[in-house]
């Protein structure tokens, strides 16, 4: 498609098109506008892809995860029921992995809220926690069956699917991803509008020359090709500059997020395919700019004889 666009732009007067209508060479701010649009689009697209990866990785990690809380005030009874729950889970064929969260880890988790040393059975009882991994995703039916069977051996045990806890996080990630994709669409629209405006302005400032070309037998397609070629050159310059700016910003942001060391954020790294998509942004911008320029010029010329 791109080849065809360039071919049609160059067919008229090889090497002469730009000279024929020098003011059609939009130049000036247009490459910068395209550069900014491409840079912002690259950043927004990278954000959308990273958020998608975060959500996907987290979802696959916790897809079969359940958490069992044994909520019992009496320490001895809690310990008994915890052991019973562990024994039940270890023998259940649906369970592939069982791990009791150590008391020290639990204390560390609660320390920021309750203060050091506050987690003590004498001061405040805390439930026992067991992480388990099921074979496959946790369905509501499976969860209900586990709860019923668990209640027989450990009545104080409460079972929750980890995916349910992170549901709001996934919703937020989905919203952010949609927002990023919306931004990409808006930026594409804005870039097209900028090209439309610039092409209209260039048409106006070259009105006399265009009229002469028409009188000499020039076709609308030939005139449009001149503008298309000119916008194409601006889009290539702006696209490359914007891509470099955008990629630099994505890399800096990526390094900063990677330094956070958070498991969730670490899952947001971009794959090779994602980088390929980002590299395609200026190419898409180029095609969009050339199509917009051609359509704008042809529409305007159609009103003339």
């Amino acid at each position: 498609m791109l080849g065809r666009l360039f071919e049609s732009a160059g067919r008229l007067m090889p090497g002469e098109a730009a000279r024929l209508l020098p003011q059609a060479r939009i130049g000036g701010p247009m490459p910068w506008v395209i550069a900014i649009m491409v840079a912002l689009t690259v950043i927004a697209a990278a954000a959308a892809l990273a958020l998608d990866n975060v959500a996907e990785n987290a979802r696959s990690e916790i897809a079969g995860g359940i958490t069992v809380q044994v909520v019992e005030g009496a320490p001895a009874e809690r310990a008994r029921q915890t052991q019973a729950a562990l024994a039940f889970l270890e023998t259940d064929p649906r369970v592939t992995e069982v791990h009791q969260v150590p008391q020290e880890e639990l204390s560390q988790l609660l320390e920021p809220w309750l203060g050091a040393g506050a987690v003590d059975d004498d001061a405040m009882a805390t439930p026992s926690l067991i992480d388990a991994q099921l074979d496959g995703e946790v369905s509501a039916q499976m969860l209900s069956s586990l709860r019923a069977e668990m209640a027989k051996v450990a009545p104080a045990a409460q079972i929750d699917a980890q995916a349910n806890w992170l549901g709001p996080v996934f919703d937020a990630l989905r919203s952010l991803k949609l927002l990023a994709l919306g931004l990409v669409a808006l930026l594409a629209l804005t870039a097209a509008a900028a090209v439309w405006l610039a092409a209209r302005t260039a048409l106006g400032s070259n009105r006399d020359t265009i009229e002469v070309i028409h009188h000499l037998g020039g076709t609308d397609g030939q005139i449009a090709a001149i503008f298309q070629r000119s916008v194409g050159i601006d889009a290539v310059i702006g696209g490359v500059a914007g891509l470099l700016l955008g990629l630099a910003a994505v890399m800096v942001l990526g390094a900063q997020f990677a330094a956070l060391g958070s498991g969730l954020v670490a899952g947001g790294g971009l794959s090779l395919g994602d980088w390929g998509l980002l590299l395609a942004v200026p190419v898409i911008a180029l095609v969009l700019a050339m199509i917009t320029a051609r359509a704008t010029v042809l529409t305007a010329l159609r009103r003339k004889l």
């Binding site: 002469e16 009188h215 037998g217």
Partner: protein, 241 residues
Amino acid sequence: MGTGAGSIVEFDNVGLRYGTDREVLSDVSFTLYPGSFYFLTGASGAGKTSMLKLLYCAQRPSRGVVRMFGNDMITLPRQRLPEVRRRIGVVFQDFRLVPHLNAFDNIALPLRIAGMSEREIAKPVADMLEWVGLDQRADAHPATLSGGEQQRVAIARAVIARPEMLVADEPTGNVDPEMAVKLLRLFEALNRLGTTVVVATHDVHLLRKVPDSLIMRLDKGRLSDPTGALRYPPRREGMPR
């Protein structure tokens, strides 16, 4: 109006008005034949430029029938206009040279529009520059050319693609009498090569300079036929050549 056989242009009861104003051309009927030389005369405001606009397809008539090169210009689709325009050379009253192109590139413009390669263009343009006596000014831009030189570039551009019809609007209006005669000789030379020439002028002295020419006179938008130019066969001998 003649039968139209062998004609390149036929106007039949043509009227032209701009917007809702009164008609600037009314009931205009004539036929142009290949190889003829016509002067279109009339006072300022008589409708000469409007008539020429119809002839070089810059305007469609408000009524009547216009046929050019066998095409009905009323119904001809817009996208087919370029092929008709390429058969017509136009010399505008104000030259309309492209200001940022030099004399060579201005003259080469119709050939480039026709899709000729740079190699094919070089020689005919150089020959044309020599023909109009501007071979030393090939690189000059319109702003640096005198009125007469600009006029000759405009004429060279109009004829470079060997049009079947040349339409010139007051081509001698901006040049001295000597240059006017010189330009007319260029038109005659082209006419001898078979091109139909239509020159609009209000300069009656000019008409005598081309003895074989025929005259179409416009008066308040209506056409009269003082020399029988609009009849066929034309009254003058040797027409069409």
